[in-house]
């Protein structure tokens, strides 16, 4: 398999301020079989090349979103990426279209960080809700496109993260990506021979 089968959509408007995300992005970039798209570097003018990005997405088995959490959601450019790429009839079927459902059977994995610590995400805490509540849009998107949901990798309190914690998270990230690459290859084989 020469095609990268993992697509990491990385979005951070100010990576120079985030050792965590620099480290995670470097980790992903260094792995064979992983294609990392640094959105803020590629499309500083928010002028996303939908065709090119759809090609990459189509080729991948696993879609990873790697971005910090801000205002209970994704950075603006990731949302723009979704608006441009995930066209009805291409990404999912709706009533009027008999589209190709290009994302069906792929997996979706969110890797994200929050500034506040874990205690802030609970009733009575700063944000008043458990963190998982804020993941609903991601889950629903994955579900609508027929993608498998993988439990997110989340680091809370990333602003105060020690270098050791950053290294540990990066190591975990690498381990999971490498593991998935193997699995995805096997699954692809199976799909090729199976139904």
């Amino acid at each position: 398999m020469n095609e990268p089968n993992i697509l990491v959509v990385f979005a951070h408007p100010a990576p120079h301020r985030s050792p965590v995300h620099r480290s995670l992005a470097e980790t992903a970039r260094a792995l064979p079989g992983v294609e990392l798209r640094d959105l803020y570097e590629l499309y500083p003018d928010f002028d996303i090349d939908g065709e090119r990005e759809r090609e990459l997405l189509r080729a991948a088995h696993l879609l990873v979103f790697l971005h910090p959490f801000r205002w209970y959601g994704m950075p603006a450019l990731v949302k723009e990426w979704m608006d441009v790429l995930l066209q009805p009839g291409w990404a999912y079927n709706d009533d009027n279209h008999t589209g190709e459902c290009a994302l069906r059977g792929k997996s979706f994995w969110l890797v994200t960080t929050t500034g506040s610590g874990p205690d802030a995400y609970q009733p009575g805490g700063l944000h008043g809700r458990p963190f998982t509540d804020f993941l609903a849009p991601y889950e629903a998107t994955a579900a609508l496109c027929g993608m498998d949901w993988i439990a997110p990798l989340v680091m809370h309190g990333s602003a105060q993260a020690t270098p050791e914690a950053v290294d540990a998270l990066a190591a975990e990230f690498r381990r999971r990506l490498e593991g998935y690459a193997g699995l995805a290859n096997a699954a692809a084989e199976e799909r090729a021979h199976g139904t």
Binding site: D45, D49, D83, Q87, D94, N96, H97
Partner: protein, 602 residues
């Protein structure tokens, strides 16, 4: 006479053209090549030229130009910062060497007056040879080079009182131009003050007016005129011409015409310096030498040994790389051109007998021949020893490092430049419109006047240490010329260019330019967007999307058609087809977006 002049020119130039490349091939360096050429054609070689005197006087102007150009490199503030090394090291060198030679001469039983003048005269080094050797070896920016330079500068200053005291030691007789010391001093002070004032308030405006006429040769003529006039003025008040030229250079060092002056005078300097060395070679009086070869050689040897010893001792106190001490000593060991003047004055004042004067002149000339040889031997030895001290230090003369060069600061380049400047990018701006420069200097930009397409100006502007060059020149020819020069001389320097039109765009692509921006495209597209929205009431966002698509597709087309751009017909049909495709695509998208009901954003 003029016939003679041309004949002489042929001889000088012919000798230089034949001998210097040969010398360089043999690893001897150009200075030695010129000296040998001079010996060959001189009265004691092939006798092509009977008398080297005139040539020597004329060629001294090469030294003057050299110092003017060095002055241009030194802003007054830097010169002020150098005052300690100049007077400290320079004073120590002159005093040390003169004392050493004086003592040795006294021991040899020579009359004290003769010993004193000879010691002082021989303590001076040859600015021309030492600096040329420094530059040949790229040592100028190193501590050794800087110290050498400071010492040479001090010698130029010290030569004046030396020449002044000679008549005092002489036979009290018609010492020419004895006059009143007070008046002489006043003259010197007046001329110096005048020079400073004129440099500020007269020469710069004049340079501007001449630059505005945009006739290159007149600018060159004025540059030469300036240097010659200042030199003559200095001579008139009895100061060293070279020192005067140096001061004039310093006064113009922070002017915007610095680079233009440099590039215009550089070839004259080179040729005249060459002529100077030839003349020195010719002036080696072999008749004196043959009369007393033992004495002359012994004097040369003794003089060089003493001088090198003192300089070597001095260099231990300097911050010089290991293994460069001896090189430094050898660089400054030879006798200088001022020695000729001092000894001439001494002969006139009857301190020296004519015999002594001519012997000493031969000694100086021979020492000038010997030092390049000694340096060559040193280089050979150093190379053989693989001495590790040869690493170049950071260049401290040209502070332009890590900067961006913007060539052409008109309507286009100015916006690029101002944006970069606002983001604290170090800029070096080149332009040839004096009015433009005047305005920019008011805003505190560092702007240089000059023709950016000349490789030498690029070098002067610090292209070797630039991060990028922005080519924003109006003229297409010039723009391509500049890109070619950059590609040839600085292949690693990224070029960002403004294209005037599509053909220019492709010509820049031919040259592998990193990034090209069509000068009208972005602004016109913005205006088109505004027409659609503000003019026709279309949705702003949809129009933006259409504009982005238009830009992307347009760029693709531009690149796709590139291979055909020289073939008019194929080019036109390709471009036409691409345009139709684009229109169809945009109207399709537009229609889909404008529909009342859609599959997204309903």
């Amino acid at each position: 006479m003029e016939h003679n002049l041309l004949q002489n020119a042929v001889v000088y130039l012919g000798a230089a053209v034949l001998v210097v490349p040969l010398a360089k091939r043999l690893g001897m360096g150009a200075v030695l090549g010129y000296l040998v050429a001079g010996i060959l054609i001189g009265p004691f070689g092939l006798r092509f030229v009977a008398d080297g005197e005139d040539a020597l006087h004329f060629a001294e102007f090469g030294v003057v130009l050299l110092l003017f150009l060095i002055g241009l490199e030194l802003e007054p503030s830097r010169l002020w910062a150098l005052r300690r090394p100049i007077f400290g090291w320079g004073g120590a060198q002159v005093a040390g060497v003169a004392a050493g030679l004086f003592g040795a001469a006294l021991l040899a039983g020579i009359d004290w007056k003769v010993a004193l003048i000879a010691g002082l005269g021989l303590s001076l080094s040859s600015t021309a040879i030492a600096l040329a050797s420094l530059e040949e070896r790229n040592l100028m920016p190193t501590p050794a080079g800087q110290a050498g330079f400071a010492i040479l500068l001090f010698q130029d200053i010290a030569a004046i009182p030396m020449i002044a005291i000679v008549p005092l030691l002489g036979v009290p007789e018609s010492a020419g131009g004895g006059g009143n010391a007070w008046i002489a001093a006043l003259k010197v002070a007046g001329v110096l003050a005048g020079l400073v004032v004129a440099g500020r308030f007269l020469i710069r405006p004049l340079l501007r007016i001449i630059a505005k006429t945009d006739t290159r040769e007149i600018f060159t003529a004025f540059a030469l005129l300036l240097v010659i006039a200042i030199s003559l003025l200095m001579q008139w008040v009895g100061m060293s011409m070279a020192l005067g030229a140096f001061m004039a250079g310093v006064l113009l060092a922070d002017s915007e015409y610095r680079h233009a002056l440099e590039t215009d005078l550089e070839p004259f300097k080179g040729l005249l310096l060459g002529l100077f060395f030839i003349a020195v070679g010719m002036s080696v009086d072999f008749a004196v030498f043959l009369a007393q070869p033992g004495l002359v050689l012994g004097l040369v040897a003794a003089f060089l040994v003493i001088k090198v010893a003192v300089l070597y001792g001095l260099s231990r106190g300097l911050d010089i790389a290991r293994g460069q001490h001896l090189q430094f000593a050898l660089l400054l060991a030879q006798g200088g051109e001022f020695a000729f003047v001092v000894f001439g004055a001494a002969a006139t004042a009857r301190v020296f007998s004519p015999d002594v004067a001519s012997i000493l002149v031969v000694v100086v000339a021979l020492s000038m021949v010997v030092t390049p040889l000694a340096l060559m031997a040193f280089d050979r030895l150093a190379a053989a020893r693989e001495c590790a001290g040869g690493k170049r230090e950071a260049d401290r003369i040209e502070p332009n490092e890590d900067h961006v060069i913007v060539a052409g600061f008109g309507r286009f380049g100015q916006i690029v430049g101002r944006f970069l400047h606002a983001n604290h990018v170090r800029l070096t701006v080149l332009d040839h419109d004096p009015d433009q420069i005047e305005v920019l200097r008011h805003f505190g930009f560092k702007v240089f006047y000059g023709d950016a397409t000349r490789p030498d100006l690029l070098r002067a502007a610090g292209a070797a240490k630039a991060r990028a060059v922005v080519v924003a020149i109006d003229d297409i020819e010039d723009s391509l010329k500049l890109v070619d020069a950059v590609r040839r001389e600085y292949p690693d320097l990224p070029v960002f260019a403004r294209a005037r039109n599509v053909t220019h765009y492709y010509q820049l692509m031919d040259r592998g330019v990193e990034l090209i921006e069509r000068e009208t495209f972005e602004a016109a597209l913005r205006l088109g967007r505004s027409v659609m929205t503000a003019g026709l009431g279309q949705s702003a966002y949809a129009t933006r999307q259409a504009a982005l698509k238009f830009r992307r597709y347009n760029k693709q087309t531009l690149d796709a058609v590139y291979p055909y751009y020289k073939d008019r017909e194929a080019f036109v049909s390709m471009a036409k087809r691409a345009r139709e495709e684009l229109e169809a695509m945009i109207s399709r998208d537009r229609k889909a977006f404008d529909e009342e009901t859609g599959s997204d954003w309903d």
